[in-house]
């Protein structure tokens, strides 16, 4: 199935969750903010949030510095 990630189309496994997507993208859960279909997903819900075909995701990653 495909999802929209930050405006680009991405093919993911049919059983993908937010957690498996972040692993696939090689980004750390603790450094991101995830919005799924315009709703913020809490980190505690990443593993249980299954993705479905056509989902729209925005993922912001924070790097050190301030």
């Amino acid at each position: 199935m495909t999802v929209q990630l930050n405006g680009d189309t991405l093919t993911v496994a049919s059983d993908a969750t937010v957690t498996t997507l972040l692993e696939h993208l090689n980004v750390k859960q603790q450094r991101v903010v995830v919005e799924l279909n315009r709703r913020i997903i809490a980190k505690s819900d990443y593993a249980d949030t299954a993705l479905t075909d056509g989902d729209a995701l925005e993922i912001i990653q924070f790097v050190p510095g301030g």
Binding site: N6, Q30, R31, V32, V33, E35, R38, I40, A42, K43, E58, I60, Q61, F62, V63, P64, G65, G66
Partner: protein, 257 residues
């Protein structure tokens, strides 16, 4: 004093404040004598004299326009973190006359902070929120500054920043940035202006403001991480902080329209 044709600044100075050394005319200092028109804004200043609240307000209105002053003076901005970003954002907002700042930080000023943070060498060892309050009061004593000396986390974000019209994310640690933005987007209604990617000195033109989510603005290049050999320095951190302050001003102006 009633206006009549030919009334000029010299006459006003002689009448109201002969000891004034500086004349600010419609927001700009002038030296020569100028005929004034009805509706002009004139401010007579004696060097070294601290303006009172009303004088300060008037001079800021003359500088920034009544629209800007009206949009910011009754508003509250939260600043999460008083380091390189937060200290500079706070100073810019105090100069804009944002009416109330809520500044939260748990740290003390360290010598290494002086490379980019808006503190003085004699403030080393002071809690940052206390040092910043003192510095802000020297710039604009007529705004309200609420300080919170706590480590901001998922549990206290909503309590500390509940009154904010806009929230600035000014942390250094990426996990703290992520937690603040996630919780604030979920539990508060204010827009958030955050930062990611401001280390080093190269490619400063890539430090831009994006809006990836409805209430989230992110400033930086998204990738320049602070690490050994790629440190944080005053110029780029200052650019990012002032882009943050400018976005906050834009949001307050949009809200006022």
């Amino acid at each position: 004093m009633a206006w009549k044709p030919g009334l000029n600044l010299a006459a006003l100075r002689a009448r109201f404040k002969p000891e004034a050394d500086i004349t600010v005319y419609n927001g700009f200092p002038v030296s020569g004598d100028v005929d004034v028109e009805p509706g002009d804004r004139i401010y007579l200043i004696r060097r070294g004299e601290i303006p009172d609240a009303d004088e300060m307000r008037r001079v800021m209105i003359a500088r920034h326009s009544p629209d800007v002053y009206d949009a910011v003076h009754a508003r509250t901005v939260g600043i999460a973190g008083a380091g390189g970003l937060g200290s500079a954002v706070a100073i810019a907002l105090a100069r804009l006359f944002v009416g109330r700042l809520i500044i939260a930080d748990f740290d003390v000023v360290e010598p290494s902070n002086l490379n980019r943070q808006q503190y003085f060498v004699n403030q080393v060892g002071m809690p940052k929120v206390e040092a910043l309050r003192s510095n802000l009061e020297k710039i604009n004593p007529y705004i309200r500054i609420d300080t919170v000396e706590e480590r901001v986390n998922g549990h206290n974000i909503a309590r500390i920043f509940k009154d904010c019209d806009v929230l600035a994310e000014c942390f250094d640690d990426p996990e703290a940035k992520s937690e603040l933005v996630e919780v604030a987007l979920s539990r508060l209604t204010a827009p958030i202006v955050a930062v990611s990617g401001i280390a080093g000195y190269s490619d400063i033109g890539k430090v831009v403001c994006r809006q990836p989510m409805n209430r989230l603005y992110v400033i930086g290049d998204g990738e320049s991480a602070a690490c050994a050999g790629h440190g944080l320095m005053a110029p780029k951190v200052g650019v990012a902080a002032h882009l943050q302050a400018n976005k906050i001003l834009e949001l307050l102006l949009e809200r006022a329209r």
